[in-house]
């Protein structure tokens, strides 16, 4: 598994454009620094979380602060209204004009008082900080009705003032007479926009923050910034408002606000009546919340990148001396060694580190190779020398052999030429004596001279046959396809021509083809068939057969006799069979030796060299020859090639 990964890694790095050692080192560095980058990202994520948490707490705290401030503001207003309710300008309708003036100055002092006024029990506006025309009836206003009914401080819902035309929330306090009956109601219209403005001012919300005040119907009572755009809009379906309303109490949400901008929203109900609930919601931009974390991330990444670059530079420079140079040296040495320069050495110190060990091993290897090469060269030289020796010896021996052959040739020539001349003289002059001195010779004398002539002629045949035997021994072998059947036919036809009177029944198996020297095989068949012809001379029905056996028969094998060879299975043997005088198997062993004859010359003429010649020819073909026969029962001569 691990190995597979390594393989894959090295395959992958090998495919990189910079697959050098240096590139691998840098890759390793990046791999090693990867956890650090991971840690940074994790830390920043943590910081973000913390920032979010912090922002949440902060906003919540702010919201609570605002809510409590609001509460105390409303309490202040209640007390102020309660105080106003005791004033004669409020209690006495005839002082309405003074009341309006007083209220106007009061409003001017307070930024978020949109209006102040007094409403009679029938709902008619009697006094107002803002000037009004004619008769204005406010009997339908919830704050008025509630204050009159409950005889206590009442808070109305948001409404668009019929006097100011602005969005406001109204608070009212009943004016009670001695009998505790409500005579009128004094009220304040709070300018929620101004209120929100003040809240934003008093709290330190970051840039881009929003503050929204809304009621439980989803109506926007105030919104900072852009109050005019939002006030009075009822958006119960906006996601943020749904979240706030469904929550019902204080909470936090990170989502898009009504303006579609993503912020961290914190909200809290800050004022409730039986029928109404008013919420305040602060939205802090996410970017602001995470700004620190982002800055941290950027700084850390920059720092890390600097560290990485620095380390990479150190590796880039350091690897040159520590790794690349020795590696390049080793590589050059290996390349030169590969090109056959066995004298190359790394020249690096054989230290105990890896490079030192590789260099040491490499130098050892080069030494070994050089030694082996030298040994091989020496051995080759030795072989060359021996070969040269051998060649010289072969040339010498060949020359010696050629000389010997030449001598033998000269000898044969001499024998052939010179031995015959005296014989011819003996024969010729014997004949001359017989012819010229017939009258002086008796019958016996003529008989002796005839014997001299017969012996001379026999000697001539002996010489001829010996020459033939010698020629067979030294003739060059030319192997070719030989049709033995045709050859045998030709030999027998010649014999028939030489003795036309003889009647011989000869049979030749057709299609016997072998590979051998045609001239030598002709001589062999000449001798074998000639013998058969000769030794059937006295048969009334002479029969000669030439054929082939496909399973060699051991028979009386002259080779077996000396124990050198066994007949081979499947060996093809040819044979010449006759029904002539045959021979006694007792003497079969002598058949193939030169000058050995089993019949005397008087019976059958011959020199005793023919079968020796046959044997020589067959042996030269790598074959063997043997014979079977019985006295008076014919003979069979076998030969294989």
């Amino acid at each position: 598994m691990r190995k597979g990964f390594d393989d894959q890694l090295s395959r992958w790095t090998a495919r990189l454009p910079f697959s050098s050692l240096r590139a691998r080192l840098l890759l390793l560095l990046f791999l090693a620094l990867l956890p650090a980058y991971g840690f940074i990202l994790y830390s920043v994520f943590e910081a973000r979380q913390q920032a979010a948490e912090h922002a949440r707490e902060n906003a919540l705290w702010l919201t609570r602060l605002m809510a409590s401030e609001q509460k105390s503001l409303i309490e202040v207003i209640r007390q102020q209204l309660q105080s106003l309710a005791q004033l004669s300008i409020v209690r006495r309708p005839e002082q309405a004009a003074l009341c309006s003036r007083t209220f106007a100055s009061l409003r001017a002092q307070n930024a978020f008082y949109a209006n102040l006024g007094v409403i009679d029990a029938d709902g008619t506006l009697r006094c107002s900080a803002l000037p009004f025309a004619g008769r204005v009836n406010l009997s339908d206003r919830d704050f008025f009705r509630e204050a009159m009914r409950t005889r206590a401080f009442a808070v109305g819902g948001y409404q668009i003032s019929r006097v100011t035309g602005k969005g406001s929330a109204n608070l009212a306090y009943p004016v009670l007479d001695a009998a505790n009956t409500p005579q009128a109601a004094v009220f304040v219209a709070l300018d929620l926009s101004a209120l929100a403005d003040r809240l934003i001012e008093t709290t330190s919300l970051p840039e881009g923050s929003t503050l929204t005040i809304l009621d439980n119907h989803g109506t926007i009572l105030a919104h900072q910034p852009d109050t005019e755009q939002w006030v009075g809009k009822s958006l119960p379906d906006a996601p943020l408002i749904q979240t706030i309303l469904s929550h019902g109490k204080e909470g936090i949400a990170e989502e898009a606000g009504i303006d579609g901008v993503e912020r961290l929203y914190v909200f809290k109900p800050f004022y409730s009546t039986a029928a109404k609930q008013i919420y305040i919601s602060a939205g802090i931009p996410t970017a602001a919340v995470f700004a620190d974390a982002q800055r941290l991330l950027a700084r850390a990444l920059l720092l890390m990148a600097l560290v990485t670059a620095a380390v990479a530079a150190v590796i880039w420079v350091g690897s040159n001396d520590l790794l690349l140079r020795p590696a390049a040296t080793l590589m050059r040495a290996a390349r030169r060694l590969g090109q056959g320069d066995l004298g190359v050495r790394t020249d690096l110190p054989h230290t105990s580190d890896e490079f030192g060990q590789i260099a040491s091993s490499f130098d050892d290897m080069a030494n070994t190779l050089q030694t082996r090469e030298a040994e091989a060269a020496r051995a080759e030289e030795e072989i060359h020398r021996l070969n040269a020796d051998l060649e010289r010896k072969v040339i010498e021996r060949t020359a010696e052999l050629a000389a010997a052959n030449q001598e033998l040739e000269a000898f044969s020539y001499s024998v052939s030429h010179d031995l015959r001349a005296p014989l011819r003289a003996i024969d010729g002059f014997s004949q001359a004596v017989i012819e010229d001195y017939a009258d002086k010779l008796g019958d016996q004398g003529r008989d002796y001279l005839n014997r001299v002539r017969a012996a001379t002629q026999h000697m001539g045949h002996l010489i001829d046959d010996l020459i033939k035997l010698a020629r067979v021994a030294r003739a060059e072998m030319k192997r070719e396809t030989v049709d033995l059947s045709a050859l045998a036919g030709s030999v027998l036809a010649d014999l028939q021509t030489s003795e036309p009177a003889r009647k011989v029944d000869w049979r030749i198996e057709p299609g016997l083809v072998t590979s051998g020297d045609a001239n030598l095989l002709r001589v062999a068949l000449d001798n074998l068939l000639g013998n058969a012809w000769k030794f059937t001379g006295r048969q009334a029905h002479a029969r000669i057969e030439f054929g082939a056996l496909h399973q060699a028969s051991p028979g009386m094998d002259e080779v077996d006799r000396v124990g050198n060879r066994q007949p081979k299975t499947g060996e093809q043997a040819f044979f010449v069979r006759d029904n002539g005088v045959g021979f006694d198997m007792t003497y079969a062993g002598k058949l193939f030796s030169a000058f050995q004859r089993l019949h005397n010359v008087g019976e059958f003429p011959g020199t005793g060299i023919g079968l020796a010649t046959v044997r020589r020819i067959i042996h030269r073909h790598g074959g063997r020859v043997w014979a079977e026969g019985a006295a008076g029962k014919g003979a069979t001569f076998y030969f294989s090639l």
């Binding site: 020539y413 052939s416 030429h417 011819r424 003289a425 010729g428 001379t456």
Partner: protein, 146 residues
């Protein structure tokens, strides 16, 4: 017929005597000129040396040439005869004891007209001489003289 000369080149006196006997027995009575080595044969045929004064127009009708000769051997004699325009067409019959194939081959390739092996049997030798004489002295038309 009697004006036709036979040149016998033969170093062995026995063979010379037997050849002359065979010619005589076969009633070949032409003049037989005997020379005993190759050099003498060349001298005779080219009318030089001891035979410088010989009439060069009287060349033998047939030359019986032994191969094994002193001084210049038979094949060399044949070669020189065939190389010279004067003797190029002279009938030459090799008469030798050798039956070596190489002798036969070189004899014929050097332009011998015939190759006869002297048999040991004198009866056969007689027959051979008879036929040679009959053929070359009686049957054969000699080449035109220059």
């Amino acid at each position: 017929m009697s004006d036709k000369t036979i040149l016998l080149v033969e170093d062995n006196p026995d063979d010379e005597a037997l050849t002359l006997r065979a010619l005589k027995k076969n009633n070949i009575l032409n003049r037989v000129m005997v020379v005993r080595d190759g050099a003498e044969a060349l001298d005779y045929l080219f009318c030089q040396g001891a035979y410088a004064g010989r009439d060069s127009s009287l060349q033998p009708a047939v030359t019986l040439l032994d191969l094994k000769l002193p001084k210049v051997d038979g094949l060399e004699v044949l070669k020189r005869l065939r190389a010279d325009a004067r003797t190029r067409l002279l009938p030459v019959v090799i008469l030798t004891s050798s039956k070596e194939e190489q002798d036969l081959a070189s004899g014929y390739s050097l332009g011998a007209n015939s190759y006869i092996r002297k048999p040991v049997d004198f009866t056969q030798f007689m027959e051979a001489i008879r036929q040679v004489g009959l053929y070359w002295l009686m049957m054969n038309e000699p080449p035109p003289k220059k």
